[in-house]
Amino acid sequence: MTSPMRRGVPIVAACFGAMVVAVVASPFIGSTSLGFSRVFSTTIPFADNVDAQIFFVARLPRALAAALVGGTLAAAGVVFQGLLRNPLATPYTLGVSAGASLGAMVAITFGSAWAIGGVATASLAGAFLAVAIVYALAAARHRGLSTTVMLLAGVTLNAFFSALILFVQYVSDFAQTYRALRWLMGDLDVASYEPILYALPLVGVAFAGFAWLARPLNLMSAGIDAAATRGVEVERVQRGAFFAASLATGAAVSVGGPIGFVGIIVPHLVRLLVGADHRLVLPASTFFGAAFLVACDALARTVIAPIELPVGIITAVIGGPFFLWLLITRR
């Protein structure tokens, strides 16, 4: 007899395969058809090769960004759900994306004088601010972290920052408001590898944390006290989960904006496939989430070509009904 965990490994491998296929195939899909030989031709100089530029400058960074953002949001969703012991939690429940959005709004409205980093850096700063506030509130009275206070702080922060965002939009002009609204809908057209490279270290640190958290999160699902009596250092696990998942979410949102539904659809679907063991759910969700968002982005840029739909709309159109179905069929 094999351990239950080992039995789930083939599915995790299948999800990995799906991700690889998606990332490799997606740059070939688009409103303009590319000639395979032209793309990889070594005779035509790159500066003249339109097909190669479409592939390597426009589409490939986009596919990689989608994979990064989708995988990260899905994994962060899993960890937040484990931390809050609630399968309905999302990466945005605790206010991280509200902070990131506020940072982006401020940069778009007031920051035209800044030339470096700009919106991405500001949104990361906003995310960290939100995380700091929620953590300070939740850790104030207890030795560990109170999940109730965390939730309340997150909800309050979401509301408060949303009000601030509205205020910032009010004082901005037409173009800035449009840009801000567009950012909120999610945009993966990075057009360069820079945003991905900047986000990668942050995401790497977060995922190192996730690897360590996988098994303790299993034990935490029976309750903090039960986990403690089984040997889990619950305060450390809670802090680790909170910061790792918030870091991951902040990095993902700073690259592509607050794309919704990935952080909740994917963990749910994956649990249906592999069960509840976080050591399987985390990697499977990461790969599945990456593949999912790459597919959504490919859809977003082809469905009404040459105009593009914001990818957040695609995930919402898929995610909304799915979510409703979940709530209806849930016991």
Partner: protein, 337 residues
């Protein structure tokens, strides 16, 4: 009957009644007797929430009647002394009412504001952002509304003549393919918004003798992704920066961002223009100047060699460098006779 009542209405009341009749009668007579004066016909206290229409008002000689302008108005210089009443999203209704206007120029989409003004019976002039031809028709209807039909006609015809002159001057020349961008996230090639196949920016491009690469997309604005730009391969990229006033090194850095797409003809030839000029974004009386500006960029006068001329422009040594463009934008409007 009458005799009985006469005793009730005393001499004091009768006197008052007589006075009343006299006052009203003289006033009514006075109105019809006074000579017609163009100044007092038509609205005398005008508020404009639309910068383009503000310029039109000044152009047709109604500048003195303007008592309030929007937060974004900058031209002509006289507007700095006028009261500010908000803009499209945030009109300051109280301020507007306190200025006691008899005409308010509003956007067609400001339905709540229009309802409130209708309720207190303040007339409104409704403006809709549209194509190039609508600029002159708006000027004419404004003129009619203000009883300044003659002045309006003069301004409108002048604009039409100027535009026609530009059309003639570029007729028959090869039309370069242009992307006209009004938004881009600084330092990156993200969040680029271009003028689409509808709207006055598109019309300006076409009048100036250019071919809009996004002409087939029937929207006022198009999100120009990297892929779309690579596919459409514009010969010229013009970025309109209405409010930014960047120093030279910043401009150079922002132009260098486009090197990420080296296959674009615009990048290869260096014909990327960052125009810091508001005239290109305001569909008002200076539109002919804006179109002339575009035409000069697209079809440099007398020099068929695009390469040399563009280098001159970009190096700032040609009369079409950004400094001289800036000077021209702050020039006063031609005064009407």
């Amino acid at each position: 009957m009458a005799i009985n009542h006469a005793t009730v209405v005393g001499p004091k009341v009768r006197g008052l009644f007589l006075a009343f009749v006299l006052v009203v009668g003289v006033n009514l007579a006075g109105r019809t007797l006074e000579p017609p004066d163009l100044r007092t016909l038509g609205p005398s206290r005008i508020i404009s929430l639309v910068p383009a229409v503000t310029e039109m008002l000044f152009a047709i000689g109604a500048g003195n009647e303007v008592v309030g302008v929007s937060s974004y108005d900058t031209f002509p210089p006289e507007v700095t002394s006028k009261a500010r009443v908000g803009a499209l999203i945030d009109p300051d209704v109280e301020r507007i009412l306190s200025l006691k206007p008899d005409l308010v120029v509003v956007y067609n989409s400001q339905t709540e504001l229009m309802t409130r003004l209708d309720r207190v019976r303040i007339p409104t002039f409704r403006y809709e952002h549209a194509g190039l031809a609508d600029i002159t028709s708006t000027i004419r209807s404004l003129g009619q509304r203000l009883e300044r039909g003659a002045q309006a006609e003069a301004v409108a015809s002048r604009i039409e003549r100027d535009l026609e002159a530009i059309r003639r001057s570029v007729a028959g020349k090869r039309r370069p393919r242009i992307a006209l961008l009004f938004e881009r996230e600084p330092g990156t090639l993200r969040n680029i918004y271009a003028s689409g196949g509808i709207g006055f920016m598109h019309d300006m491009l076409e009048t100036a003798g250019g071919e809009d690469v996004f002409a087939d997309i029937k929207r006022q604005s198009v999100q120009a992704t990297a892929e779309l730009l690579l596919t459409r391969a514009p010969d010229i990229i013009i970025e309109v920066h209405t409010f930014d006033r960047w120093p030279e090194d910043r401009i150079a850095r922002e132009r260098a961002v486009w090197k990420a797409l080296p296959s674009l003809p615009a990048v290869r030839s260096g014909r990327i223009y960052l125009l810091q000029d508001e005239r290109l974004a305001i569909p008002g009386p200076r539109v002919a100047e804006a179109v002339k500006l575009l035409a000069d960029i697209l079809h440099p006068a007398g020099q068929p060699d695009y390469q040399a001329n563009s280098r001159a422009i970009l190096a700032g040594t040609s009369p079409l460098s950004k400094d001289s463009v800036k000077k021209r934008s702050s020039a006063a409007l031609p005064r009407l006779p």
